[in-house]
């Protein structure tokens, strides 16, 4: 496999694509948003239970490419138990990781999410990797939101 393809489709990503974590509906969720990527028609729903300021639980549903599914899956793992402020910081850092050549200045805090740095070489796939993240943001911002990558 060409090395940039290898960087994109890392084993962790393929694994989350095959077996997404926190996949399905979340009964009792008090925040929910649907995300839509008009480029490919992919949809994702992110549901969460927000207790005070803390994301107690989070799940996602939908169909998408390996990048969007793995990103959603790993996002839910990372977000569980975080505060809103922490979630927003992670969003910013994750976005920088995907779009800035120097990578995220605080990549360490992203933990295993750094496997997505390979997406940088595939600019049209950045939207795939961020769809669930935009959707999470929409869910946090309103009781019923709809997010779009556009």
């Amino acid at each position: 496999m060409a090395s940039d393809l290898g960087d994109l489709y890392q084993e962790v990503i393929l694994d989350h694509n095959r077996q997404p974590r926190n996949f399905g509906d979340l009964p009792g969720a008090n925040r929910r948003a649907e995300g839509f990527n008009p480029l490919c028609g992919d949809r994702v729903t992110v549901s969460l239970t927000l207790e005070g300021d803390v994301l107690k639980d989070i799940r996602f549903q939908g169909s998408g490419c390996a990048i969007s599914k793995a990103s959603a899956s790993m996002m839910t793992e990372t977000m569980k138990g975080r505060t809103r402020a922490q979630a927003e910081r992670l969003f910013q850092e994750f976005h920088r990781l995907l779009t800035e050549d120097s990578g995220a200045p605080d990549a360490a805090s992203l933990g295993k999410l750094v496997v997505f740095s390979g997406v940088r070489e595939f600019p049209i796939r950045v939207k795939c990797a961020t769809l669930a993240w935009h959707t999470l943001r929409a869910a946090l911002d309103s009781a019923h939101g709809i997010a779009s990558t556009e």
């Binding site: 496999m1 694509n17 490919c40 169909s63 490419c65 390996a66």
Partner: protein, 423 residues
């Protein structure tokens, strides 16, 4: 599959074209000579837009370097030349479609605008509350949304004729949907997502028996099939120049003269008028009534060059080549594990839509791209069709006259690579 004899059967009797030779054809398309990520470009996204032959590129350059002027309004030499070239192209398109008269050819931006024009100027006055517009499951969004908008405005109903699992229109069900309230039928000649060729002549017969006019979306048919609007007897026919090896931003609406005559203008402005006072405007005659404003003059002339180019190629050899390529690709891909071809109509042009179990089309597209292979991955502007097949998207390889068996081989090994990544 379409019989080769049906395809491009009769070219205009100019100089007899040389026997079809795909390598000679490829040499006419400068863009094909490049490498992408170090691999020779394999361009299999022709249904999205086709590449342009040198003749079209040179015609555009020549127009801007030598003849450029506005049309229908200058007395000077350049205007005379560009007006003549513009109107000669109208005659060329008329011959290409075998329409009866030049004034039945209206230049528009593309199929999208052509359908919107017909929906707005023809259908709007004819469609009322509880009336119906009939389309099919396999339509492109541009042949769904304009009708939906009209139906919403009028309180009318959009009816949709179903297809079978091979992607073929169910003609009996289609006919059953033709009712006393049906005001227009609008169908694709060839489906962009499946390659299915629809039986337009029979569709038109069924509709005309009930005095219902038929619009045919020919965006995907014109690059592959011989089009004869009088033989089809359709009332409107549309095409997009960019899919026909011509420039983007130019297309054609063919309409029967009697229908076009009776229709109000689509847009107001210059060129579409005969005289204007603040009290009253007299509209220009056909086709200018529908060509308000300065048109895409270079685009029209480039489209003419594309038609000349196509007609310089042996039509039977070309059709046989395209059909053999599709059959070859279908056989090769059908043998790959986990791969399912979506759209197995008996009559097809060069479109191969497929899904691979457990692999999203986007990932297929990205990996093929790194092999220099351009395909389309997505819903192909046909979301209701994707729903019909229960898939969010497909990968689509679409062929043109310049594609080769070697390129099908590259596609096959590219897909094997995809299967390797997603074991």
């Amino acid at each position: 599959m379409t019989r080769p004899g049906d395809l491009l059967a009769a070219a205009p009797a100019r100089k007899a074209p040389a026997a079809f030779d795909v390598e000679r054809v490829r040499a006419d398309f400068p863009i094909l000579r490049q490498t992408v990520f170090g691999k020779p470009l394999v361009y299999l996204d022709n249904a999205a837009t086709a590449q342009k032959p040198r003749a079209v590129i040179d015609t555009l350059t020549r127009f801007y370097e030598v003849d450029n002027a506005n049309i229908h309004r200058g007395l000077h030499q350049l205007s005379e030349r560009s007006t003549a070239a513009y109107e000669e192209t109208r005659a060329k398109v008329r011959r290409f479609l075998n329409a009866a008269e030049d004034r039945e050819i209206v230049f528009v931006r593309g199929t999208t605008e052509a359908i919107n024009l017909a929906a707005s100027s023809y259908a709007r006055p004819h469609v009322g509350r509880d009336d119906e517009v009939l389309i099919t499951t396999m339509e492109h969004h541009s042949n769904i949304v304009p009708w939906q908008m009209l139906c919403e405005e009028k309180g009318a109903r959009l009816r949709v004729a179903p297809i079978n699992d091979d992607g073929e229109l169910l003609l009996d069900e289609f006919e059953a949907l033709l009712g006393p309230r049906t005001r227009i039928v609008s169908v694709a000649h060839v489906s962009n997502a499946l390659g299915t060729v629809n039986p337009i002549r029979r569709i038109v017969e069924m509709a005309h028996r009930r005095n219902i006019p038929v619009l045919v979306d020919g965006a995907q048919a014109a690059p592959h099939l011989k089009i004869d609007v009088r033989d089809l007897d359709c009332d409107f026919y549309t095409l997009s120049g960019h899919k026909l090896f011509g420039p983007t931003g130019i297309g054609v609406l063919y309409g029967k003269a009697a229908l076009l005559e009776a229709m109000p203008p689509y847009q107001g402005g210059g060129d579409m008028i005969a005289s204007v006072t603040f009290e009253k405007t007299i509209y220009n005659r056909l086709p200018h009534k529908f060509e308000a404003g300065t048109p895409h003059i270079a685009g029209v002339i480039g489209l003419g060059a594309a038609i000349d180019y196509l007609e310089s190629i042996d039509p039977e050899g070309r059709a046989a080549h395209e059909q053999a390529l599709l059959e070859h690709a279908t056989r090769r891909l059908a043998e790959l594990p986990r791969l399912r071809i979506v759209g197995r109509a008996k009559e097809k042009t060069g479109v191969l839509s497929f899904v691979i179990e457990g692999i999203h089309p986007h990932d297929i597209g990205t990996i093929l791209d790194r092999e220099g292979i351009a395909i389309r991955a997505g819903h192909h502007c046909a979301q209701p069709l994707m729903d019909r097949f229960g898939v969010p998207a497909t990968a689509r390889a679409s062929f043109a006259l310049y594609n080769t068996r070697e390129e099908v081989g590259a596609l096959e090994s590219g897909i094997r690579k995809v299967l390797g990544v997603f074991r």
